[in-house]
């Protein structure tokens, strides 16, 4: 019998080992109902293993995990009916169309028939209803995966790296869908290694590194508590600018999504003045300038001492 609780997920001292490898190390956290909770960390941090234990796919080595008041090691059949899962690297049957795929998963769950058209509309796939899975772009495949995760009208939705490898446009479309889920009051557990994604969508973020949670709070609080500097962004196509900044002792980073944007951590206003003067003296052009507080990426870097790894984009954008 499920216990009534304000928490959708309660993880207590979870440990998961694969032989000698300690994938999840004594992890504890809880997710309130209706909350969008993000597990943030690089590849191999233990995010997926943690989520798969909660989803009942993997058995924990030790510790206790409760989902909607039920022990995940004992109530698999009850739990799977009340959750929706988009696994990492989601894939489906190549020769089955979008609509047939949603209908197939709906049949597996039984019960009340879902409104397949509404689900397709929710993830903006109505026009692709008759398209076979193998012909969909990476972004469309992910959106189909999200639609499938919702066929049973789940109380808790798990999305394991839903935007990994997608191009920026496709990523934003998936974010839009996730915001819709949040608006519906669903509890969402999201794993990602995109800081921007966690910062934009999550109510609460757990920063995970080497199988442990090293920080857990709302994105705003995490930044507030851990911010040590601001970020100056210079937009310049001049290849000399990064060199000029390095010569001044700063550590510029090129934006991977836009190689004209150069980000520089700065500690005081004098730093900004010094940089601008140096760029002007060198005769380099600068088309835009932005000074902002640090984001989760800097927080992550500060807390873990390691940068988040980003894998190569997967497939084209959404249509």
């Amino acid at each position: 019998m499920a216990q009534e609780t304000e928490y959708a997920i309660e993880v207590d001292r979870l440990t998961k080992r694969y032989g000698d490898l300690l994938a999840v190390d004594d992890m504890s956290f809880s997710v309130k109902k209706g909350e969008l909770f993000a597990c943030l960390g690089p590849n191999g941090a233990g995010k997926t293993t943690t989520v798969e234990v909660i989803e009942t796919i993997r058995a924990p080595s030790s510790g206790k995990v409760m989902l909607l008041g039920m022990d995940v090691t004992k109530k698999k059949q009850e739990i799977v009916r009340r959750i929706g899962v988009l696994p990492q690297g989601f894939s489906s049957f190549d020769r089955i169309t979008v609509k047939e795929t949603i209908q197939y998963y709906a049949r597996l769950f039984g019960g009340k028939k879902p409104d397949v058209n509404a689900l397709m509309a929710l993830v903006n796939l109505t026009e692709k209803a008759g398209e076979r899975y193998k012909n969909l772009s990476g972004g469309l495949q992910q959106r189909l995966g999200i639609a499938i995760a919702l066929v049973n009208d789940p109380e808790v939705v798990f999305l394991d790296e839903p935007t990994t490898g997608l191009d920026p446009k496709a990523r934003r479309e998936v974010w839009h869908v996730l915001q819709g889920l949040k608006a519906q009051g669903k509890t969402v557990l999201l794993t990602t290694h995109y800081m921007e994604e966690a910062e934009l969508l999550a109510d609460k973020v757990a920063i995970i590194s080497r199988g442990k949670i090293i920080a857990l709070d709302s994105p705003g609080e995490l930044i507030e508590k851990n911010a040590g500097c601001s970020i100056l962004t210079l937009r310049s196509a001049d290849a000399r600018v990064p060199e000029i900044l390095r010569a001044l002792g700063f550590q510029p980073v090129l934006d991977p999504d836009n190689d004209k944007d150069i980000k520089v951590p700065v500690h005081q206003n004098d730093d900004v003045r010094e940089i601008l003067n140096a760029v002007q003296d060198a005769g380099a052009s600068c088309s835009a300038l932005d000074l902002r507080r640090p984001n989760l990426e800097e927080v992550f870097l500060k807390l873990t001492g390691e940068a988040l790894h980003e894998s190569a984009p997967r497939g084209g954008g959404a249509s």
Partner: protein
């Protein structure tokens, strides 16, 4: 067991295979091509005509009569070689594998034997042959039989022992009739084994199984739907093979319930083996190689293509340990001899094997990551 879930899985698999028409065509085409090729070869088995070169050095009525007897045996198409030529050179130059040489003095020797009762008088027929040719032994064997008949005729005494062939079957069956049940058993084996291995490894590698683990589908539902799918594919393939066999070769086979029983057991046994293989061999290529390693010896040693009596005794013993042997024997008992007792015995053996393998396969199928 949830029938709704089993139906949903079955539907997706059947639609997938239907939409992959090339794969479906080749799946069905392979056994049909085997039937057409072997059927065509063995249909004319009774009319095999070897090319035989004969060099008559005697050039008498007796030697010519002997050559005519060889020709009339229906086994040989005779080419006469110039008596002045060297038989060995002829073999080499003309790329033939055997020249039969009738010696000079054949008629004289025969006269001596017949007229003077001189039984030491004889003639030596020489076979000049190329030992590298594989058809020479068969040719020599037929020649020996024909020459034995000529010897007997020349001796003038009627044979004492006279063989008469009496088949236990009321109807005369041809090789193709024995061949088709073996091909059906073999085709169902390969479809079930490779179908399971390919599907399981593909879905596992693509992560579809992981997704299915987060739905209410159970391992039993999944396996039963796979089984049903493989059974339907096996039935379609069997129907296609039988259709071709009846239409092209007018085979004399009895279609009865045993056919369905043996197909079902064949499917169970080899889907079970497939499930065990995919448990231990995770990569698709390795799994396919392992399936090949199992199916190929089974195909050739269990009597699908030729009777196991042609094999050395230790291989015959080994053949009787192979599950496919009992499907072959069972199908032949049912479809040719209509021997229910023998079919039941074979059914019991393959049934026990299928049950054991299937249960092990069921237990071996991982339905949770990390199991």
């Amino acid at each position: 067991m949830n029938l709704r879930v089993i139906y949903a899985n079955l539907y997706v698999k059947l639609i997938s295979v239907y939409r992959e028409k090339t794969a479906m065509f080749f799946t069905l085409a392979f056994p049909i091509i085997l039937i057409l090729v072997f059927g065509t070869i063995f249909m004319s088995e009774d009319n095999i005509g070897f090319h035989l070169c004969v060099q008559d050095l005697d050039q008498t009525k007796t030697s010519q009569k002997s050559v005519k007897t060889l020709e009339e045996s229906g086994k040989f198409k005779i080419t006469r070689v110039d008596p002045t030529a060297s038989a060995a050179r002829y073999v080499q130059d003309n790329k033939v594998n055997l020249v039969l040489v009738i010696p000079k003095g054949l008629e004289k020797s025969l006269m001596r034997r017949m007229a003077f009762k001189n039984y030491s008088a004889n003639a030596v027929i020489t076979y000049v042959y190329d030992p590298s040719s594989s058809s020479v032994p068969a040719k020599v064997e037929i020649l020996n039989r024909v020459l034995a008949g000529i010897n007997l005729e020349i001796s003038g005494s009627p044979p004492f022992l006279r063989p008469v062939q009496k088949s236990i079957l009321t109807k005369k069956y041809r090789f193709i009739d024995f061949f088709i049940p073996g091909i059906i058993a073999m085709a169902v084996m390969t479809l079930s084994l490779f179908g399971t291995v390919d599907l399981d490894t593909e879905l596992r590698q693509k992560g579809i199984i992981r997704k299915l683990c987060t739905t209410p589908i159970t391992r039993t539902d999944w396996i039963l739907s796979n089984m049903l799918y493989q059974f339907i594919i096996a039935l379609v393939a069997t129907a296609a093979m039988l259709l071709v066999s009846f239409a092209v070769f007018q085979v004399s086979l009895h279609l009865n319930g045993w056919l369905l029983v043996f197909i079902l057991l064949d499917v169970f046994a080899f889907v079970g083996i497939g499930m065990i293989l995919t448990r231990f061999v995770k990569e698709a290529q390795s799994a396919a190689a392992a399936a090949n390693a199992i199916s190929f010896p089974m195909m050739f040693l269990s009597g699908s293509f030729f009777p196991i009596e042609l094999m050395p005794s230790f291989l015959q013993t080994f053949a009787k340990m192979l599950p496919l042997y009992y499907v072959n024997e069972g199908l032949r008992s049912a479809m040719i001899f209509q021997d229910n007792g023998a079919a039941l015995r074979d059914c019991a053996v393959i049934g026990i094997f299928a049950a054991v393998v299937f249960i092990v396969g069921l237990m071996a199928t991982a339905w949770k990551e990390g199991q």
